[in-house]
């Protein structure tokens, strides 16, 4: 039976704390990708007016985030990977 290869799972943290940690992890990851809200805005199945408003908000967020240098990690990693691929 499948139980032969079951891993022992260590349960340590409460559901609420894991939930907040999960939200924090996603917030941190998304923060490094300022273009993400813009992708969501384009794909959102909303009426045209709402979509246009969302795109504007997402663009201004992206501009602010890029001014703060939040896209630096992505740009640096992209340059390094490109250099390695074409060496």
């Amino acid at each position: 039976m499948q139980a032969e290869v079951e891993r022992p799972a260590q349960a340590r943290h409460s559901v609420a704390r894991v939930g907040v940690a999960l939200a924090l992890a996603l917030a941190v990851a998304f923060a490094f990708n300022p273009a993400l809200p813009l992708e969501w805005a384009y794909d959102a199945p909303l009426p045209d007016g709402a979509t246009l408003w969302l795109i504007e908000v997402a663009q201004s967020y992206r501009a602010t985030a890029e001014r703060l240098g939040l896209d630096a990690l992505n740009l640096w990693a992209e340059a390094q990977i490109d250099a390695l691929r074409h060496r």
């Binding site: 499948q2 079951e6 891993r7 340590r12 894991v18 990690l73 992209e78």
Partner: protein, 468 residues
């Protein structure tokens, strides 16, 4: 909706919050998870939600009926219900393949008439949820699990979204008790956050970084037209595909196991360092474990297993592997792949009897690994003609290497090195993570996630096992 997308991340966060907010109301929690699973499935193509629901309802009704019948009628009902599952799978997945093969046969015999194709879209995950449905029926028939009266339990068992579209194939006897225990004695108040973090992040790294770059920078081009490349490129691409399919599929399984753990479910592992196998038999105990154990318990043993010894055992082995190959896809390459695995399993049993000496473990691992690599070339090529092209190309040593760059060779090496890490390492890392304060777990996971996203390529290739 794919695991590595930001849309899935947002979806999962909402599901996690609402699922645990319903703790204490087990039926609400179960129905909510069914709803979330159908939304997840419907995001791919909403028309097939009815097929998924129909599959679950037929199996639910058949299992209830099994519970009320005499032994003779139970067998008939079981056969009818399993037949219904296989008929749906056959219609969507194999109908055109058999029509095509039949038409080719007619043409070769000089008949001009052709049967028409139906060109149905293959519903994603149909092979996986059909096998889970059969597992439920057989487990109920054998008395391993009691039939579920509330339909929601079977709906959730068949559709639970972390493992719905590409496995692992979880047995009814393993998952249904966990579904029934939601909100009862088992109801977890603590979650394995470290374990889930390790599984999800390692799965993402294997899929997004290793499998993707190996596919896009080497394997896809070489396998598309093997006659354009020399022996070195072809050889490295064969190793590359072996590492790619391992990273792709085990990465998906790891993510499924980690996500299920966050929802309170324990799903058994699907891969256990398969390239350390010293025989083909051992390989199948380590590779796609949920499928190989399913085939063993629901096909090989009912066929007679090794009970009668001799040629019957060999026939059962061969048939099991042949059908296992066909399960992967409606193409002769998959049939040949399964047949070769069956033949290797039989050959190594015969050799073990006649060889006057024993091969050491290291040479045995190397031989097994290279047989596996060879069979994965058949698995990957689009047609048998391309497979012969591939083999013929392995003699072209004068053509210089052009596709296999140092970058992609390093990634293949990294994939093999990660595969070879000690089996206890993920659990050791998980235990260390669990010792951290919970906000720090979130921060570390977020930074690692951002790092993986930063180095992953922009275009992500589809999961290989989605097509099955």
């Amino acid at each position: 909706m794919l695991f590595h997308t930001s849309v899935f991340a947002a979806f999962f966060l909402c599901v996690f919050a609402l699922c645990w907010a319903a703790r204490g109301w087990p039926r609400v929690q179960q129905w909510f998870l069914v709803l979330a699973s159908f939304v997840f499935y419907g995001a791919w193509d909403w028309r097939f939600m009815a097929l998924l629901a129909g599959s679950a309802l037929v199996n639910w009704a058949a299992a209830l009926r099994l519970d009320r019948l005499s032994a003779q009628s139970r067998r008939l009902t079981l056969c009818a219900a399993v037949g219904a599952n296989l008929a749906v799978l056959g219609a969507f997945k194999y109908f055109d393949f058999f029509v095509d093969s039949f038409n080719t046969l007619l043409l070769s015999l000089g008949f001009g008439a052709e049967l028409p194709f139906v060109a149905l879209i293959l519903p994603v995950g149909i092979s996986f949820f059909t096998f889970q449905g059969i597992s439920y029926l057989v487990d109920v028939h054998r008395g391993d699990v009691a039939p579920s009266r509330p339909v929601v339990e079977v709906l959730l068992y068949i559709s639970l979204f972390p493992q719905l579209v590409a496995g692992p194939i979880v047995r009814a006897a393993a998952l249904l008790p966990q579904i029934r225990a939601l909100g009862q004695a088992y109801a977890p108040t603590d979650l394995a956050a470290g374990f889930a973090t390790v599984m999800i992040l390692s799965g993402l790294f294997k899929k997004l970084v290793l499998a993707n770059y190996i596919a896009s920078d080497l394997v896809d081009d070489v396998f598309f037209d093997p006659s354009s490349y020399g022996a070195r490129d072809l050889l490295i691409a064969a190793y590359g595909y072996t590492v790619q399919i391992y990273c792709d599929f085990s990465g998906y399984s790891d993510m499924a196991i980690g996500l299920a753990a966050l929802l309170g479910f324990r799903i058994p592992i699907n891969f256990n360092q398969p390239f350390r196998a010293a025989s083909m038999q051992e390989f199948w105990r380590r590779w796609h474990i949920s499928l190989s154990t399913w085939l063993r318990d629901y096909l090989y043993i009912p066929l007679g297993g090794s009970r009668d010894g001799g040629w019957r055992t060999r026939r059962n082995l061969f048939l099991t592997m042949l059908l296992g190959g066909l399960w992967h896809g409606a193409a002769w390459t998959f049939v040949l792949w399964g047949a070769l695995h069956g033949a290797f399993l039989i050959a190594e049993r015969l050799l073990a009897r006649v060889l006057p000496f024993r091969i050491g473990r290291v040479p045995a691992i190397l031989i097994t690994f290279h047989l596996v690599v060879l069979t994965f070339v058949i698995f990957r090529v689009e047609s048998l003609a391309l497979f012969w092209d591939y083999l013929a190309g392995l003699a072209r040593w004068r053509i210089p290497m052009e596709a296999a760059t140092p970058f992609v060779i390093a990634l293949i090496g990294l994939g093999l090195a990660l595969h070879a890490t000690p089996p206890g390492l993920p659990d050791a890392v998980a235990r260390r993570l669990d010792r951290l304060p919970w906000p720090l777990i979130g921060l570390v996971a977020g930074l690692l996630l951002a790092g993986i996203a930063a180095i992953a390529p922009g275009e992500v290739t589809p999961f290989i096992y989605f097509q099955f």
